[in-house]
Symmetry: C2
Subunit: 346 residues, 2 copies
DNA sequence: GTGAAAGCGCTAACAG
DNA sequence: CTGTTAGCGCTTTCAC
């Protein structure tokens, strides 16, 4: 390798490698004059620090590992974007690992990240992995771990999620405020906490507004476009007077919308519709779809901030006492996005 | 750090670190028996290789740097997904750098990647950076460089792009085959090569099918939804007989579609419409939008394969001779996606 | 304010 | 087939 090292610079200036190292790292014990000298020749010799060597010695890589199911999914792409934005500003880089590229690779991912000595790991847990040993391993190694979106409380790691309950509540209340009264819900698989939270938000919003809960108005679906289509069909078959639908995801809402259009049901006049997730296609549907935004970019930013806090705590050596503290959990406020599908023309 | 090292394993087994290293790397000169021993105790002691040290010594990190504008954009997310998919299978990891997080950070990105000693760089050049010095730097350091999508021929790096000309040709010919005869084009900013290529594809497809080119049927727009709306308006104002539109991007097509719907023009009956890019929203428009897919995931896979080839060439030491060769340029075939907006009901 | 020395954990000759 | 030796390039006490 013909790369210039600090030795080369030292030789050039008749000084020592250690002085060069300190100067380049802006160490206080080096005079301004020599610093200037050294920097100049470093630039002149086109010197570039070898971070590998630096990290090996110092124990810090300034790399943070990210573990997500897939960058192919808009939501995660946006989260990564948010993380990198702040990470960059703080001198960190991103090592990306997709756990769901072809099969489940979460264990391998944690392993790889750990081997690379990342300074921390930010992860969204894949599926319902029954085994979380690999994450306990991270904690055992005292590598700061932050979770987002899909979270496991038992891991006792700082985390950032969006308030699904509140989002569903907001969506439902919005429909109520628009004057809809027989509001149905197409729900998602109930053994996922987030979908159950959304169901509860829907129920509570109705209750709080003194609207009776009618089980006929709740369709328990799975999460897909098709499920939305079927949900709309079943609901309308059961009750002709339904005048609004809150769908558990934008995809579900999309399916419902397709069914309603096929049957010439006018939205928002005859039936108001709102989804959840603010997918990229939602603004472009006809009518454009009202929805709840989960603020993925902000989620990424907050996750990284949480990581920084863990680092600070680690540096100040409260490693043992911290076990007692409850890990910080940031709950993001969802944002109501009002579009055509839910605005009753007065 | 309490991490176990190869020394610990060696001590435990009364052997030497080098033997342990070789065994763990499956070196042929170690007996099966000792390999087994060593692996067992490695596992038992919960040993994990320190890649930093390994890389520092061996000169290889098995990390590949990716430079993209933003993971927030679906296209790039999909490309990254494609790269990682193959990279993983070949034992490589991904260090991600987004050049367009807030301003232009391309130079910094290359710098960071180089400092981290990545084994190669796969990049999509941001905007029209007049200065490409940082990329010449990569080549100077003999770090394999692969470009995708946004490519600069002067860099003489292997690259993978999609055939824009062909895609436009296919789109236009598809409209012709559907029986449309007065086919307009809403174009994009002409000083981007790809948009000019699409214009040429459109023109040539008409010529090849003996349809006269009419300058009135070409709207020179910018690239936005709004531009599509305006384009459709202008075109129809100039010529009432237009019966199809090929839009330079799906976003442009979206704008055009919005305008046409507003004016109760039926698609595909009165006007056929096709876009370019296969955005995630396109299947869900009404009518669903026909388009040209750019195969982003495949693009990522091919890019990584190109990187592997560069590595192989580098390893076999043809560094000097290769200067003479033309760098390999993979041109991906675009894929025509036929949906409702362009299928004339016979 | 500067330099000498030691070593982070690993791999790669080279001996044996 | 195994072990010894040397060092990748850097940071970091600790003397001076």
């Amino acid at each position: 390798m013909g790369r210039t090292t600090i030795h080369d610079i030292a030789k050039e200036l008749n000084t020592s490698p250690s002085t060069v190292s300190k100067a380049l790292n802006d160490h206080p014990s080096i005079s301004a004059a020599t610093k200037e000298m050294i920097r100049a020749t470093a630039q002149h010799l086109n010197y570039r620090q070898n971070r590998l060597a630096s990290s090996l010695r110092s124990g810090r890589t300034n790399i943070i590992g990210i573990l997500i199911p897939s960058s192919d999914i808009g939501f995660f792409g946006a989260v990564v974007h948010g993380i990198e934005k702040i990470a960059r500003a703080n001198g960190y880089n991103i090592l990306l690992f997709q756990s769901n590229v072809s099969g489940e690779y979460e264990v391998e991912g944690v392993e790889t990240l750990l081997q690379t000595s990342v300074d921390g790991i930010i992860a969204s847990i894949a599926k319902d992995a029954p085994n979380l040993d690999h994450f306990y391993d991270v904690k055992k190694r005292k590598v700061p771990l932050v979770l987002f979106d899909r979270v496991k409380d038992e891991l006792a790691a700082p985390s950032v999620v969006v308030d699904d309950y509140k989002g569903a509540f907001m969506a439902t209340e919005h429909l109520i405020q628009q004057g809809y009264t027989r509001i149905a819900h197409i729900s998602g698989t109930q053994h996922f906490k987030i979908f159950n939270d959304r169901l509860r938000g829907y129920v509570d919003a109705l209750k709080m507004n003194n609207i009776a809960i009618d089980d006929d108005l709740i369709h328990y679906g799975r999460n897909s476009i098709e499920s939305g289509r079927i949900g709309a069909e079943r609901l309308l078959a059961r009750d002709k007077n339904i005048d609004a639908i809150f769908a558990v995801e934008d995809f579900t809402a999309l399916g419902a919308q397709q069914y309603l259009k096929q049957h010439s049901v006018k939205m928002p006049e005859q039936i108001g519709l709102i989804g959840f997730g603010n997918e990229s296609f939602s603004p472009y549907l006809t009518p454009s779809l009202s929805t709840i935004d989960q603020q993925p970019t902000l989620m990424g930013e907050e996750a990284f901030t949480l990581f920084l806090e863990s680092m600070a705590r680690k540096a100040s050596g409260v490693a043992l006492t911290e076990q007692l503290e409850e890990p910080k959990k940031i709950v993001l406020d969802p944002v109501l996005i009002v579009r055509e599908s839910s605005v009753r023309t007065a």
